[in-house]
Every structure is written in structure tokens, then in C-alpha cells.
């Protein structure tokens, strides 16, 4: 069952890579968050049920609830429908997502986990989710989709943590969650400011501060 969820996560990755519509990717992120949220239920760990339930609920609330909602709100606020001109096209993105998966498997093959784990796919999938997030941040021009990428990156990390280290003191885990939460909010606020100042949120055009001027700028 765990492997199925991991499988799903990978699929969500590829989908989010493929879609250039902001709302679609927000939805995918929400699903991904939900999937990660339920992972603890399928772990063979011996954790007192109350704590387990708390974790699941909080995670679901934050990752599948508040954050996607906030992103939608932000999208409406700055009013962008779709990724106009991504640096990498959809199909190429999907291929590179596969490449990221491969890399993740390769790296994790070199990192044998020193103890028994529920599924051998946890580490590679977590890594691949993070790499996907990375890739989205790099390849998308819209500020909002970069925030989404960041969220996916965090999802990967969270998956890693929650799947391998549930025994870790929860306070820290929740603190991390909280931090991500605040981080996303601050980013969102910045995005609002950007859209107010520049009347667009295309970060590829936010390159005024540089030590190197391309020809076009020089000529101006």
C-alpha cells in the first residue's frame, strides 16, 4: 500500500511538471500533500495512536488545506491563469522529471539506510519529489509557480522525514512545518507586492540587479 502512495507521488510529480496551468498545479500540490499526510498510517512503526492521528491531521490540514487555499487566493489576487512562457516546454519537463527520478534512485542506491524501513522506495521518491520541486523553480517564470515548486521541494523533505524518522521528537517536526507555513506566507505576500509594483509576476523580467548587462540592456 505504501508503495502505491509513493507511486502516486511520482505521478503527481510528472503531472505538475507537465501542466502549465497554475490552478492545476496547485491542485496537484494539494493532492501530493494529502498523500504525504496519510503516509504515517501505513508505517509499521509502533507509535501511540493519538500522536499518529495528530500528525496526520495537522499535516493534512496544512499541506492539503491551508497552503493550497492560500495559493489559490494568491493566484486570484495576482490574477495569473497559466505559465505563459516557461523556460522548458511541457514534454521536456516531463522527461527531465524522469531524469530526476533516475538521479534520485542513483543517489539513494549509494546511500544504504542503516536500519529496516517500510519500503525501499521512500528515499528515492522523496529525493525525486524534491528534485522536481527544484526543477520547477528553475524552469518556471511565474513567481507563483516558483512558490509551488518550493512547496513541492518541502513536500519531498517532509515525506523523507515523516516516513523515516517518525520517532523524532514531534516538536521539531511541527516546528519545521510551521516554518514552511510562514515561509510560504511571506513568499505569497512578496508576490502580492511584486504584482502591485511591476503589474506582472514574471520573475524572468526581474533581472535589474546584475553585474553583467546583456547586449539588449547595454544598447538601451
Amino acid at each position: 500500500m505504501l508503495d502505491v502512495i509513493l507511486m502516486l507521488l511520482v505521478l503527481f510529480n510528472l503531472f505538475s511538471l507537465g501542466s502549465t496551468r497554475i490552478s492545476a498545479s496547485i491542485r496537484v500540490v494539494a493532492y501530493q500533500g494529502a498523500a504525504i499526510g496519510v503516509v504515517p498510517l501505513f508505517l509499521p512503526g509502533k507509535i501511540p495512536g493519538g500522536i499518529l492521528v495528530t500528525i496526520v491531521l495537522v499535516t493534512l490540514l496544512v499541506k492539503a488545506g491551508i497552503l493550497p487555499w492560500f495559493l489559490r487566493y494568491a493566484q486570484k489576487r495576482v490574477n495569473v491563469r497559466r505559465e505563459e512562457k516557461p523556460f522548458v516546454g511541457a514534454s521536456a519537463s516531463i522527461l527531465s522529471g524522469v531524469a530526476a527520478l533516475g538521479t534520485a534512485f542513483f543517489i539513494s542506491s549509494r546511500l544504504p539506510i542503516p536500519f529496516a524501513v517500510a519500503s525501499p522506495f521512500i528515499v528515492p521518491v522523496a529525493l525525486s519529489v524534491s528534485l522536481t520541486g527544484f526543477f520547477i523553480i528553475i524552469s518556471r517564470a511565474e513567481a507563483l509557480s516558483q512558490v509551488i515548486g518550493y512547496l513541492i521541494l518541502e513536500n519531498g523533505i517532509y515525506l523523507f522525514g515523516i516516513a523515516l524518522l517518525l520517532e523524532q521528537p514531534l516538536l521539531v517536526e511541527l516546528g519545521m512545518l510551521l516554518d514552511v507555513f510562514v515561509g510560504i506566507f511571506v513568499m505569497g505576500i512578496t508576490v502580492f507586492h511584486i504584482s502591485r509594483e511591476f503589474e506582472h509576476t514574471d520573475t524572468s523580467r526581474l533581472s535589474g540587479l546584475a553585474d553583467w548587462l546583456p547586449e539588449v540592456k547595454r544598447s538601451e
Binding site: 544504504p112 523515516l164 524518522l165 520517532e167 523524532q168 511571506v186 512578496t190
Partner: protein, 487 residues
Amino acid sequence: MAILLFLVPFAAGLAAFVIKSDRLRRRLLFSVACAHAVFSLYLCLFPSGGEDYRWLWFGLDALGRYFTAVFSLLFLCASFYAVIYLKEEKSRPREKKEEGLLFNNAPEAAFTGCLLVFLASMSLLALSRHFGLIWIAMEATTLVSAPLIYFHRQRSSLEATWKYLLICSVGIALALFGNLFLAVSASGQGPGTEISIDRLLGPGVRLDPLWLKAGFIFVLVGYGTKMGLAPMHTWLPDAHSEAPSVASALLSGALLNCAFLAILRFYQLCLANGLGPFCRELFLIFGILSMAVAAVFIIGQSDYKRLLAYSSVEHMGILCFAVAVGTAYGSMLQAANHSFLKGALFICAGNILAGFRSKKIADVRGIAHIMPWAGVLWFAGILAICGMPPFGAFLSEWIILKAAFSSGNLWLPAVYLFLLGVIFIGMTGTGIRMTFGVPSIPEGKKSFLSLLPALLLLLLSLFLGIYMPAALDGAVSGAAALLGGQG
């Protein structure tokens, strides 16, 4: 008791958001800074009976004490300058010279509050003994310093803020990965080993080397982003050049050191588990790379705040280089010198900017003639940060050089000296161009008060250069001892 270092500024910060009266808020800021500085200095110079303070995940060992003292002194001067700066900001017409567009500032309450919370989160970072907590503190510094950068509500600073926010968040996310890897490597001690320094440095704790290595890589890249190591330094020049000078001073003088501290915490574990050579190799690579990149961008730089930012990149490289060649002592000393000098330089830069209304080096001529104090301090600071005696950087860089020679490989000191030389030429050339000559504006503003903090910081570095009291020496070598530094 030391937890107050965190609690007081935090509470004060929260208060600052709600306080209405400007004067009261400024007084609050300054008095908290004073109290913090005095207390941390006391803790640093007279460690209570050598017994490190502990309270569940909080604690203050020699390393923490040293870094706290340094950034708290810097914060004291910066806050003094901030008070004057905010006064002026209220008065002067906010008009940006380059584009000529009007802009207004963030509410002063938010600025002051963020400053205090920033101090609080840095203290938290120095205080915390748990890697998760360190990570939270680091993320917190990022989040609260973003509004500091976006003080001037204008496009360029917004762009800088966005870059800063995204790049640093990504970096810190990687650092989080590093923490998790650490937890995995610690899981050999039975499930749920808490990843706190004291637990993992405890007797008979063996960490899984492979995962520890991976963790260190993640942490180095992640916190290195925050610290401004090349090639992750890219946010730094933008943020430093766009932030108000007081924020730039804090960012480059205090924040970078704190990131370095976070990396050093991890380095302690690696040392204990015999990964010293591995870590030092990585430190060496990033150190030399940072110095080289800084050299590239310092030569022919056109914006003097960016110049200072790149010089920070260079000095972060020097810190790593020092640890790599095995002189933690030199590294600690250099960190202090860099904090003080860079703070002084940024405060001078703030005054120059206020006088000349331009960040372009080409627009600034003959500071020494129309703003004598600013000119003197600016040029002295530039010489000092290039390692000229009688300032402290001369000694620390000398110590590092000797360690590099004793490390056996003659290429290291050669490269180090070459890069320092190139940077020296770049910086002093700019300094001469700006300081001397026929002034490019009729009359500057001659306010000594706003330069007093810069003067104090320079004097501090001068003090480090010519006299080292036993207590201070003890503090530095105590901090170095934790990093396996023989001093």
C-alpha cells in the same frame, strides 16, 4: 539565564510592533541592544566558572558565547545608527536618484520590530543545542530579515527581497534535508535519538559516516547559501546593495557569521566522527571558490555597496579557508574583524549615500574634502578590510597564511595571497577614486554623530589588531578548541 538573550529581544520586538510613539520605540531598540551587548560580552569574557550553561535544548558553549558577543556588539552600533537613520528617513524627501521615482518606506514600527526579532533569532541560533532548533532559527532570520531589505518600497529592493527570500529558502530547505540525514545517521543509537549536539557528541556515540557525509554536504550547500559562499552567494550583492545600510551591516556582519556558526556545529559532529579531512576538503573548495569569485566581481565594480557585499563573500571564503587549513583560531579572529569592519564600512556607505545620493562609484569623488570624517573612516575601513596594519585583519590573515604554509601544500598560500592581492588592488583603487580628488557635489552633510558607530567599530578592530587581553584570547581559543583548533 542566558535564555534571556533570546527572550528579551523577542518580547521587545513584539512590543515594538504595537508601540505607537517613535521615540519610545527607538529608545526601546537602543536600550535592548545595550543590555544584550553588555550581557553577552560579560558571558563571553567571564564564562561563569567555565561551566557551560544548559537548559533542555538551549545552551551556550564557548563557540556560541563568542559569536553572540561579536554580533551583539555589532548590533549595538548598528542600532545606534538605526535610530539616527530612522530620524533622518522621516525628514528627508524620499526620492531615488537613479530613476528619480518617488518611493516611501515601510512603517517604522515594522522595521524596528524586525530588527529586534532578527537579533532574537540570531541569539536563538547561537543558543540552541538542537539541530532542528538551529534550523528553525536560521529560517526565522531569513523571514524576519526580508522586511528589513524591503524597507525602501521601490522596485529594485523588492526584486532583491524576492531573490533573497527564494534563494535562501531553497538553501535552508536543503539544510533541513541535511538535518534529516543526520537523524538517519544517528539512528544507530536506537530509534528516536534526538539530534542534539550534546547527545551526539556524548561518549560512545558513533554516527553512520556515509549519511553524515551526505548530511554535511546538504548542510554546507544549504547554510552556505545563507552564508554567501560561491556559487550560492548570488543573492548577497543584490540584498546588500538594496537594503538600507543598517540592514546591510547586520546582514553581512552578523547573519553570515551565524550561518557559519550553524555549519560549524555540524562540523563539530564530523570531527568527532573522524570526518575532519573530508569536511576540510569541502571547506577548502568553497573557500577558494568564494575568494576567486569575489575577486572577479570586485575588480571594476561600479557600485560601492555591491563592492562591500563581494568583499563579504571574499571574507566568508577566508573563514572557510582558515578552517580548511586547520587554524580555527585565525578563522574566529577573522570572523570578528570582518564583522566589525564590514559594519563600519556599511555605516560609512550609508552616510556617503545620504550625502552623494548615489550608489555609483563614478558619482562619488573627494569624500575626504567635503565629508572629512566619512572620508577618513571609509578609506581606513577599506585599507583595514584589505588586511593593512594596524587593524586586526592584518594579524588574522597572517595567522591564516602561516597555517596555510604549515599545511605543507605550497599552492594554498600562493593562491590565497594572489587572490588577496587582486582584491586589495581592486578595493584600494576604488577607495582612492572615491575618497580623494575634487568633490563631485558642492557640500556634503557633516554629521559626526551618525558616523560615531563606524568609528567605534573601527576602533574595536584596531584594538584587536594591537592588543589582545587574556580574557579575549581565552574566549577565542576556547571557541577554536571546540573546532579541534590548536589555537
